[in-house]
Subunit: 250 residues, 4 copies
């Protein structure tokens, strides 16, 4: 398939693992916008994609900041005039990773960080992108999609994971609620439970699952799953998928 | 059983429904502290319990406000010197009930209200009461208990319920995480999924389930279930219970 | 409360643990019928209850055998003329405990045993007792009840537990389906997930949770929970409850 | 990718909907064996695939009959000498569809039919294919796979669906248990919750989702999802996926 000149994708939250791999995969079919809190996170990925003859744009914006997000979409309008939004991935990791620690040692700030990045962020991002996805329903090659990166903590409040689990589970149910509201309008909202540690492959390598350690998830395999979810026919939408290494206990 | 002169209970979040009924039920065995954002919510219940020869204390405090909560526990220390904390019920309803409305009509404030009341509130309350409950493990008549009032939205992101469900599900998983951390230390953390509308009986009536409309839950029946959870033997703790009217579809 | 002269209870599946404890607990309020595949399982419990001035009847019948079950209810009609059925507990353990073993070492018979005891048994038992429970809806002191003893395997297919989990999960969903069909008609169907090993106390002792090892569930505590479920007001039915030792990992 | 000359796939349970579509999809990469209780179910599909230059073999066998299954695999050995088993789909619908009806109107035979087709069938099929899948782990192009077709009743005991739900939920948990046992050995076991009615397209048409009614699932879309599951990298196995029409309420 040739790269569409009409539709684009956004990946919010880009690091060397899932974000980079997903951006690379979606760039095979769409120009890709990478949103991140710091340009350091996306600079190399943007360069890597553009060097390969595809198109990527990096924008510095915090998804939990409504104004920053608004300004990001104005930039996109200028950079990709006439393009519609076909695919969005919310892959933001909270600002400073909340510690996995005993409940009584946590601070209110630890909780804030988790809720902000996981729930407020998806809320703001969703309010920005859903109207744009709805505009693309009739014309986009695949049903316009909002994908959310979840984790084991999205469905389980393990010991010592209290604030992380509170944020991830709230995020998951928010995505579920959006799926029920916007699915019938043609927008596909899906949530992926990533159950395992993600391998960060040497970025200079061509995208491949080769060499993934047995106890790690290849980010390219996640990216393939996200692409699969995006391209599902509207008669068979998946709302939730789990992904884990074959040797993972669960 | 005579009212203990050594242990007390706290109900955070008191209205004419569940909060009042639970306070009345627990006052049969313990002096009860009622926490609420406004004295109007607890005044009548406190009077009703004290008039009946039992003991209740009302304290105005917002569970989401760390300082207010700290000051509340200082008041309790003075009012109930030498008492240990045996039972706590987190029954707080978010500040102004977030609207059940289309996602794109919600504001960031609607989300804040839900997360604050449901998650931050339980987090702060938990950090205040868990150390006190741990102190009571060896001596209290029943395992020290933290009960949390959940709802259908705690396990399901229905259409139009996005911010409420995000808050309730995060709250539920937080409680689950606390159960896994503090259960083995002897503190019983349980979550109740209240699946249905609650009847608000005429407060002048003696506590009874009589007259509950078929499609409503009697708050006295909830209170009985909470008391049952509190008195469970430590060899058979329940972590989650659902409660619904017999005719409720689910 | 005096023993009712109008209503009785049935416990199907009686051993020295849960079955015995539940029979003893329910005999405080009802004459109790104990069903078991062999008289050796109930003889001592029946004697123990009758010696204490309460009433128990033992009947040898396999719940998975329709004819045996039919004949058992004819016996009950003669032994307890005019009595209505208020409470039933399905606590049957499959005929010979299916081995917890590698899937490829299991035989078709292992599967049969699990499905027969767990699903066919509850199906037959349900078809026998539900019509009787429906007859008691208007008059019984508490909503007529069908309680089912589940296990961790009821909600989880662990490695090596395949046939046990297939039977228990099918049983759980069957109970859930009955709850949805007969709840609105006034019959309370509830399922208990017993998550842990059950202590078998010295039967000569008075019913008490004392001395339960930390990693075991007291059968008397299970019995208390079953009694609680039976006595719930119809405005607040519980469909599922979990019970585990406070130190159990989950 | 060229059709492999080394590996084959089996679809157990073939009708004009899911079974046919999955067989067609997998025949793009493997010779496909179609198992069905009657040759009428697979004859046309086998002809359709062979006519298209791919290879399909139909075998009449009831998956719940151990001897028939054994004989089927002997036939396969002769027909596809030297081939290894790479992909298996358990898509069997119980013998005569158990009625969706009131519990008290069901017979023991209704239950038998559901348990036999759903649980016994998967058990027998699993015992036959898992050893063959294990043999293919090192050499097959994708991780050897066992896919199971589930339904809404696999996770929910709705009113009137008791025996169907008992069978489907037992089947689901059995598949889950196999996933936990054989995943670490390299065999991918996944369960698909098909939540909606399946469209049966005009079989003379080329496989396409075109024309699927809005409230139906395209069987070709299911087939695409099954193929996706089969080709997942072993670092990112999905155990469970849900599939429903975009307008379906859930």
């Amino acid at each position: 398939m040739v790269v569409s000149d009409k539709f684009y994708a956004i990946v919010a939250g880009v690091g060397p693992g899932t974000g980079r791999a997903v951006a690379i995969r979606f760039s095979e079919d769409y120009p890709v916008v990478l949103l991140s809190r710091s340009s350091g996170s996306y600079k190399d990925v943007v360069a890597e994609i553009n060097k390969g003859g595809r198109k990527a744009i990096g924008i510095t914006a915090d998804a939990t900041d409504e104004a920053a997000l608004k300004s990001a979409f104005e930039t996109i309008k200028k950079e990709l005039p006439g393009f519609k939004l076909a695919a969005t991935i919310y892959n933001v990791r909270p600002n400073s990773r909340p510690s996995r620690k005993p409940f009584l040692e946590l601070t209110s700030e630890d909780l804030d960080v988790s809720l902000k990045g996981n729930i407020h962020g998806l809320f703001n991002f969703g309010q920005s992108v859903v109207p744009l996805l709805l505009e693309a329903v009739e014309s986009s090659p695949h049903p316009p999609t909002l994908l959310v990166t979840g984790a084991t903590a999205s469905i389980r409040g393990s010991k010592l994971w209290s604030v992380i689990a509170a944020g991830k589970s709230g995020q998951r149910i928010l995505a579920q609620s959006l799926a029920r509201e916007f699915g019938p309008q043609g927008v596909h909202v899906a949530h992926a439970i990533i159950d395992g540690g993600i391998d960060v492959p040497d970025a200079s390598h061509y995208p491949t699952n080769e060499g993934t350690p047995e106890n790690r998830i290849s980010p390219y395999a996640i990216a393939e799953s996200y692409w699969f979810l995006h391209t599902q026919h509207k008669s068979a939408f998946t709302q939730e998928i789990d992904l884990r290494p074959f040797i993972e206990k669960f």
